[in-house]
């Protein structure tokens, strides 16, 4: 019997097994199916089928690159249908660091990585907007909600009053603009926050570095994807303005409070107009609603192709984004951007598994067109105009056109205020409603890698960037009031074209000594020359086709241009030369050390002051790799610390020269010969020289840890940092009698300190149900520690609202851009309170205050209210930022929420030009002003804004602007799950709401005010009519072929 069995067994060799291997997208071609422990194997064919003869009792090893290998014992079966899973852990996650990549677990600096796919899910036109919820320590604030406008980015707080923007590096090319990329072009964004990571960027790393890698080619099956969405935007909230009747009543109240009598509206207004208001047939014009562009469309389409073989891979894509603005109707803002990308990598010479020579290129081209309304100060801001315009003025006049001179005169309002205007007419006829800006950008780079022996790589990359832009604006003829009119139409055009190049060479050698000592050494140099370009501009008036935007070009004008209409200059080239080296060392991936040294020379400084040396050192310890470490649940724990110095050379060139101003119209004088339109050229020495001007240096210490718990489902990252920027470039304070403008000197220091924390939980209950929750927060304090002048103050500008004193400043001991105003302690409710106040020796702002006046606090108790009583009443820099990301995947449905918040900042809000005009419209907040004892203890009695209660800057205008914004809520479904025969690998349809909820107490339209309304760039948080971020609902489709 046994013999028979043996005989049978001996005869039953080589079982034939067949089967199909698939992955998430369909048949898996080219997967290897091997009999474990032998070389007997095959690969799957075009349909994923395989056939193999194996010994009985064998185990099949099925897998491929990027997939988790599966081991399946043959057993009794002969047919196997296997589904392979993508394996990300196997390819150690890698992050991009300067001039290379590094395994994430070995990184000793502080960096954040955001994947392009995650950015795409948030559907933001500018990738920076998508990063707001996932980048602790990076303060990203919109400068305006107008389409095409940018963001104010400060990594770990503002480091200077000069240029505090981080350095953007796109595919190794420095100085690009992230807004030129569509999120679907981006593979990943790595933000380098601490000195050690940025040190390798030396001269320009003081403000942090943002590295953007566009999608590169991948070996494997070709993948074509389409991502598109279409949406409708509206204003998230509208400030409540007064209507005609309310306006009349409030103006009466103001007049009476000011000692006058109620206004005789019946006598002043045109009879028909007055009657229509009284009988309710005309309630007034809500100008904000009038310029609101409801359901403004937004759309995006992107097609991407990725694929290639082991030797040659490429990635190509084309995308289009179009976004209309929610305000500015009928000349609403508009932004359109088209991006084209082609990246490829080719192995030119391969020898025994070694890629000896590789060549690659990256090319991106972007074309964008933008038009926008005024978003500056109260003289150039259409939302401000709409908020302040008189609601009694009808939008259309008797002839059906926009109310203009005759209609406005007929209303009778000019006897009260000869500036009463129609803001829509002003918008439609001026250059704020007729402008167009186009820009082209081309980024080309080519790189060559030579790897003569394994892990010794010489990389040379040459980058070329070209940019061209043109702008046209046109002001039509119109007559609105006696002061606001244009009797000639005028056009102005300008164009600018230029290019830059850079060349980077690095030699990188990775080697191991004594088995566990791993070294990764890099030496390199770059040279860069920028600014080869020219700009030209011209303007003229009197169009041959008057008042038609379509024909408004300088060549079609019949007027005579004056000298100030013509401009032309060169961009001015400048250069940067650098040498750097880095050594990364780790012992058994347990102890890590990294040393970086960089030497940079910039042409912005005189010879002898050009060069700076920037060192850094960082170390890490992976505690979990220690033998003695044994805590259940802690899978990975790395402690790290770093110290380094970076520089900032971003100041205008030639500060070391005493320049003489040659600007055509700047120094001229009209002696009178030749008539009134002629003047002689004048020149004068305009700026004093500072030969010693040199770099700003930023020195930073960072301590932190990275950890993973519970089977790597919980990820935690923590950082504490202290960043001190020294020798910050400030305008020197010069004595009044020097007679020329101040040069820049190295004369300021600021310290930013803070912590960052990110927590992320990622779990899968089963392959059909997984979820992810991420939260992050960061805290930052910003304090100026030195300003090299007697006062220790850099003054901000006054007249943020016409006629008011200096509102914001930078001062030793305070954060940059803080609000400097009087402090108030409520309102005097009655005479007794006033008497008590004065009896206690406290000063008042006028000798005889009356009930309803603000109690200005006499801070120094000297009995007088003056500048010495002004103090910090607000800070536009957030103390605390937070982000939230939540996503759930359930049987083909995906649901995600993302949000971010900023806390601890204040905003100065002035929606009226209160000091200048008592006739500006009010919001319904006006009913909260004091109108009798006990009515309010915050706002004073209602009188014209020139009254001491208003014109003296006080904290009644400074508001808390803490907010938490639910940035996106998305619900999607992958129709592939029910439509199994679809030609797509994925067919996801989704609905998303953006900015649906913003939790805030702020009473303006948007609490995220990242701009200073046209005043100093180091100030922010000034809301004079801020263009809010839209609330959008969109539907979209992701297709993968």
């Amino acid at each position: 019997m046994i013999a028979l069995m043996i005989g049978v067994a001996a005869m039953a060799q080589n079982v034939k097994v067949t089967g199909t291997v698939t992955d998430a997208l369909g048949p898996a071609i080219g997967m290897s199916v091997v009999e474990q422990g032998t070389t007997n194997g095959t690969i799957t064919d075009m349909d994923g089928h395989f056939e193999l003869l194996v010994a009985p009792g064998a185990t099949l090893e099925i897998g491929g690159i990027g997939y988790k290998t599966q081991l399946i014992p043959v057993g009794d079966r002969t047919v196997f249908d296997v589904v392979l899973e993508e394996d990300n852990e196997l390819l150690d996650e890698v992050v991009v660091v300067g001039y290379g990549t590094q395994k994430k677990k070995l990184v000793t600096g502080s960096t954040i990585q955001v994947k392009g796919d995650d950015l795409v899910k948030l559907n933001s036109t500018n990738a920076l907007g998508a990063m707001q919820s996932s980048s602790p320590g990076v303060q990203i604030m919109q400068t305006s909600g107008q389409p095409g406008e940018g963001f104010n980015v400060a990594i770990r707080g503002m480091g200077t009053t000069g240029d505090f923007a981080p350095l953007y590096v796109i595919d190794g090319v420095t100085g690009g603009s992230i807004s030129s990329l569509n999120a679907s072009d981006i593979e990943s964004i790595d933000i380098l926050k601490d000195a050690a990571s940025c040190a390798i960027y030396g001269a320009r790393g003081a403000n942090g570095v943002v590295l953007i890698t566009t999608k590169q080619g991948k070996a494997g099956k070709y993948q074509v994807t389409y991502d598109g969405y279409f949406g409708w935007q509206n204003s998230p909230t509208m400030v409540e303005l007064l209507d005609a009747k309310q306006y009349m009543a409030v103006e009466n109240m103001v007049s009476v409070n000011n000692g006058g009598s109620p206004i005789d509206w019946a006598g002043i207004l045109d009879a028909d107009l007055y009657n229509s208001i009284q009988n309710g047939s005309f309630t007034g014009t809500n100008w904000l609603e009038t310029i609101h562009n409801p359901n403004a469309p937004i759309s995006n389409h992107a097609v991407n192709i990725v694929g290639g073989s082991e030797l040659s891979k490429f990635s190509a894509g084309i995308s289009y984004t179009g976004q209309e603005g929610i305000f500015g109707y009928p000349c609403q803002s508009d932004y359109k951007r088209t991006t084209v990308r082609l990246n490829s990598d080719h192995v030119l010479l391969r020898k025994d598994d070694l890629d000896v020579i590789t060549f690659g290129e990256n090319m991106t081209y972007v074309y964008s067109v933008k038009q926008g309304i005024g978003i500056g100060n109260q003289y150039w801001n259409d939302i401000s105009n709409a908020l302040r315009a008189n609601p009694i003025v009808p939008l259309y006049g008797a002839d059906g056109e926009y109310s203009d001179f005759d209609d406005l005169q007929k209303t009778g309002l000019w006897t009260l205020n000869s500036y009463t205007n129609n803001p829509v007419l002003a918008l439609v006829k001026s250059s704020r409603g007729n402008n167009n800006s186009q820009s082209h950008g081309l980024n080309l780079s080519a790189h060559l890698l030579v790897q003569p022996v394994k892990d010794l790589v010489w990389r040379s990359q040459f980058n070329f960037k070209q940019s061209a832009s043109s702008y046209r604006q046109y002001g039509m003829t119109y007559q609105a009031t006696n002061y606001d009119f244009s009797s000639t139409d005028a056009v102005s055009q300008n164009a600018s074209v230029g290019w830059q190049w850079s060349w980077e060479n690095t030699v990188n050698y990775k080697f191991t000594l004594a088995e566990n000592h791993h070294f990764d050494a890099l030496v390199g140099s770059t040279i860069e020359k920028n600014g080869f370009g020219e700009s030209v501009g011209a303007g003229n008036s009197n169009g041959a086709w008057p008042n038609q935007w379509k024909y408004a070009y300088v060549g079609n004008m019949t007027g005579t241009p004056t000298i100030s209409d013509i401009s032309g200059s060169t961009w001015g080239d400048w250069g940067l030369a650098s040498f750097f080296g880095r050594v990364n060392y780790d012992y058994a991936e347990k102890y890590m050390l990294s040393l970086i040294l960089r030497r940079d020379g910039s042409s912005n400084f005189a010879r002898g002051h050009r060069w700076g040396t920037f060192p850094s050192i960082s170390a890490g310890w992976v505690i979990t790799n220690e033998d003695w470490f044994d805590f259940k649940g802690v899978d990975f724990l790395k402690l790290r610390g770093s110290w380094g110095q970076n520089g900032n050379c971003n100041v205008s060139n030639f500060q070391y020269l005493a320049t003489v101003n040659l600007t055509a119209d700047d120094g001229g004088y009209a002696f009178g010969h030749g008539g009134l339109s002629v003047y002689d050229q004048g020149i004068y020495a305009d700026t004093l020289a500072n030969e010693d001007i040199t770099w700003e240096t930023s020195e930073q210490i960072d301590l932190g840890f990275d950890a993973r718990f519970f089977r790597s489902r919980l990820n935690a990252t923590f950082d504490w940092y202290r960043k001190a920027t020294k020798d910050w470039l400030v305008n020197a304070p010069v004595m009044g009698h020097f007679g020329a403008n101040a040069p820049y000197i190295n004369g300021g220091d600021v310290v930013n300190k803070g912590v960052e924390f990110a927590l992320n939980w990622n779990d899968a209950i089963n392959p059909d149900f997984s979820y992810n929750i991420g939260v992050n927060f960061a805290h930052n304090t910003n304090e100026v520690t030195r300003i090299a002048n007697d006062e220790g103050i850099i003054h901000g500008q006054g007249s943020v609202v016409q006629g008011i004193a200096e509102l914001y400043r930078a001062q030793v001991g305070y954060p940059i851009g803080y609000f400097w105003t009087y402090k108030t302690d409520g309102v005097f409710q009655n005479q007794a309170e006033i008497d008590a106040w004065k009896a206690s020796g406290k000063g008042t702002i006028v000798d005889t205050p009356v009930p309803g006046d603000l109690k200005f606090v006499d801070l120094n108790g000297d009995g007088v209210i003056d500048d010495n009583d002004k103090t910090m009443t607000g800070d536009p820099n957030p103390d605390f930022t937070a982000g939230l990301n939540l996503s759930v995947y359930f049987h083909g449905f995906d649901f995600a929420v993302s949000g971010y918040g900023m806390f601890g900042q204040q905003v100065f809000r002035a929606l009226r030009r209160y000091s200048d005009s008592q006739w500006d419209n009010y919001t319904t907040e006006v009913y909260n002003f004091w109108h009798g004892e006990g009515t309010t203890n915050k706002y004073p009695r209602l009188v014209p804004g020139t009254n001491y209660n208003y014109i003296n800057n006080s904290d009644i205008f400074v508001e808390d602007a803490d907010f938490f914004r639910i940035q996106t809520i998305t619900l999607g479904y992958d129709f592939k799950r029910i439509w199994k025969n679809a030609p797509f690998g994925q067919c996801r349809f989704y609905v998303q709401g953006q900015n649906l909820f913003c939790f805030t107490k702020y009473k303006g339209m948007d609490p995220e005010v990242g701009s200073s309304a046209g005043f100093d760039s180091w100030a922010k948080g000034i809301d004079l009519g801020f263009y809010p971020q839209a609330r959008t609902v969109l539907v979209g489709l992701n297709l993968k072929f």
Partner: protein, 376 residues
Amino acid sequence: MKKIIYIAAAAAMTLSLASCEKFLDTTNYWSKTTEDVPATAADAEALVTGIYNNLNVSIGNNVHVNHFLWSEAASDDCLGGGGTNDQTMQAEDLMLNFGSDMYNNFYVDRYKGIARANMAIATIGNVEDLSETRKNQLIGEAYFLRAWFYYELGSMFGNIPMPVTPAADATAPQVSGEAFWGQVLEDCKNSIDLMPSTVTDRGNGHVDKYCAEALLGRVYLFASGFLGVESFTTPDGSTIDKSYVGKQISDCVNNSGYSLVSDYHNLWAYTNRCSVEDELSPYKGRGYKWAEDDGATNPEAMFVIKFNTQPSWSTTIGYANQTALFLGVRGQSDITSKGSTFPFGTGWGMCPVSPQLVKDWEAAEMMPVVRLPSSR
């Protein structure tokens, strides 16, 4: 193989280092420096034009607080005026302070003019292709303007730093009293001595010898009256006393070629030929004729600050006559509305005449006062 790579890399970097400094040198394509200006005759003319530029730009940027408007508001003839929020104007009238550093901007701007004059005086002499007479004329004009600027600042602030060379000296001490006015008088004297007696191209906006003589008179009257001193010694050792000043003024009166208009009304623009005989003008029928009708030159105008039609809201705002705007009558510019300011231009109404002045005027039986219809 490794060695070759290392050597090549080292060589490449050494080469780069050597040519690095040259690589980083840049050229300034937009401005000259004080080293190379003035080099030509055109540079010298433009340098002096730049000093004149300070005259109207410092008004354009400092409308309320420039010397002329300040002195008008502070004087007894005028009130502050303006609108309810024009606190600076009212502060000046009452000699009070408003805001922080009310006059700082004008102070800084005037010193820019002084610095430009200092540079012209120091460097124009070196320009080769300029004739001796032209050099003297230009330097003479620079001396005049510097004297004018210091006269304004000195009478406003009293004791101020007084740089007379282009160097920016943070340790420059304040100068006041006789030492200060002695320097101003010396500048007037130098201006008189340098500029020629025959004036070509009258009314072209440039100052001449006779303007300097007149300025000498004005400065002397102020300084001697304010300080109670009859004779000043200038830093270069000459003496400026009553007889010297008297001689210069006689020379100006007798030989300058300037003369007075027949009727004071003809000095003001409201007598221009388009408005003076209009139905609505209260001045019609009196035979007034504006001295500058059709671009004619006013015979009284010696030192005149000129404006033109090229201003914009940018750097060229100084080209607009902001003084006329700020002194303009506050009312409706629409000629048909109640309270129209015709025939005067509408403006912000700074420095309205004080009621006391009207009373005194009428009591002294000077020309009859014309009252415009009120706006309400």
